[in-house]
Subunit: 200 residues, 2 copies
DNA sequence: ATTATCTATAGATCTATAGATAATGC
DNA sequence: ATTATCTATAGATCTATAGATAATGC
C-alpha cells in the first residue's frame, strides 16, 4: 500500500492538478474531498497526509493554475492574449481557463491565505503582460494601470458571458464588445496625440 | 400560528430580501435554508410553503436585487454610475452591492433558470445605463457595445479587488486604474476626431 | 520502523418532507 | 376547513480523524 517517496510526490502533484481543474469547473464549495480524491484515483482518507486542510489546497492549487496560465501567456503580445482570452473556447472551458475568472468571486469569501494567493497571482500575471520592457518610471506606472484595467475588463467579460444561458446571443455579444473596446483602448493610448489625452 | 394572507405575502417578500443580501454576501452555496430562515426570523420548515426549491429562490432573489440596483441607477449619468460602482464602499459592502459582481460566477454553475435571470438582468441594467436616448440605429448599436464593455470592466474591477486581502494596496489600485480607463474611454469616444478612431 | 494509502466513522452540515399546531377565512 | 408556520426528521452530503494495512527505507 505504501509507495515510494518519489511516487508520493507525484501523487500529491496529481491531486493538486486535479483540484485546480475541478475547482475552476465547479467552484471551491462544489468539490468535496471525496469527489476530488476519487477523480485523482485515490480514496478520501489519504488527503490529509498531503494537505493540512481544504483551504490549504485551495490556495496551493490556485497558485498552481495561475502560474501555469502565466507561463502559457509569456511571450505573447497583449493583442494575442486578449484574442485568446475573449474567445468562446475560453469561456466554454472553465476547467482549463483563467483561475481569476473562475474563482475570484469564490476567493473573496475565503480565508486570507487564499486571497493572498490571488493578489500575488494578479501581480504575476500583470508582470507577464507587461513583459520585460524597459520604460521610464512614469511610462511603467501608466502601463501598469492600463494593463490592470485590461485584465479587469477581460475577466469581467468572461464572468458576465458565463452567467448567460448556453444558447444566449448576449453571451457572445459581451465578448465581442469587450474585445473591440480593449483593442480600441490600446490603439488610442498609442496613437492619440498627447493634447487629446485626458490626464486623469 | 397561521397569519393573514397579507402578512404571509409580506413574510415571503422579507425572506426574498434577506436572501438577496445573504446570497450576495456569502454566495449561493454559503447560505443554507435554515440560516436564511433564521435570519429572516422564521424556522426552516416554512420555506417550502413559499418556494418550490432553493434554485427557485436563487433566481427570484437575484432578479429582485438586480431590479433594485437598476432602480437606484436610473437617472444617473454614466460617470456618476461608474464613480459609485468603483468606490471602496461598494467593494466592501457585498450584501447591498451589485448582484452581478457578487454572483455571476456562482450563477454560471447553476441551473438555466438562474442564468436566464442574469441574462435578463444584464439587459435591464444596460437599458438603464443607456437611458431613453433617441439615437440612430448605428449609434444605438455602438452605445450598446460601449456600455456592455464598461459594465464588464467595472464588474471585473470589483471582482478582482474583492479577491485581494483586506489591507491590500493592489485592491485600491485596481479600482483606480479601471476608473481612469473608463473615464478615458468615454472621453475619447466622444472627443477624439473620427479620423483617429479605429473602426473595429 | 516508518509511512502512503485504505477503510470506517464521528459529528456537523445540507435540502427537502411529514405531521402537529393554531390562527385565518369562509 | 384551510393554511402559515412550527417541530422533528429522513437521507445525503461534508470536513476531518482514527486505526488498519502493506509497502518502502533504513
Amino acid at each position: 500500500m505504501k509507495v515510494t517517496k518519489k511516487q508520493a510526490q507525484a501523487n500529491r502533484a496529481h491531486i493538486v492538478e486535479t483540484a485546480s481543474a475541478l475547482f475552476r469547473e465547479r467552484g471551491y464549495d462544489g468539490v468535496g474531498i471525496a469527489d476530488l480524491m476519487a477523480a485523482a484515483g485515490f480514496t478520501q482518507g489519504g488527503f490529509y497526509k498531503h494537505f493540512r486542510s481544504k483551504a490549504d489546497l485551495m490556495a496551493e492549487s490556485s497558485a498552481c493554475s495561475i502560474a501555469q496560465s502565466a507561463e502559457l501567456t509569456a511571450g505573447a503580445s497583449i493583442q494575442e492574449f486578449v484574442r485568446a482570452y475573449l474567445s468562446r473556447e475560453h469561456r466554454d472551458n472553465r476547467a482549463t481557463g483563467c483561475t481569476f475568472a473562475a474563482l475570484c468571486a469564490d476567493a473573496a469569501r475565503k480565508e486570507d491565505e487564499v486571497r493572498a494567493t490571488f493578489a500575488a497571482g494578479i501581480e504575476t500575471q500583470l508582470g507577464v503582460l507587461l513583459g520585460g520592457g524597459d520604460l521610464s518610471p512614469e511610462a511603467a506606472e501608466k502601463a501598469r494601470a492600463t494593463h490592470l484595467a485590461i485584465m479587469a475588463q477581460a475577466l469581467g467579460a468572461i464572468v458576465m458571458s458565463r452567467a448567460c444561458p448556453d444558447d444566449s446571443s448576449l453571451a457572445d455579444e459581451i465578448l465581442e464588445a469587450c474585445h473591440v473596446a480593449i483593442i480600441k483602448s490600446l490603439t488610442s493610448s498609442e496613437a492619440v496625440p498627447d493634447e487629446l489625452q485626458l490626464n486623469n
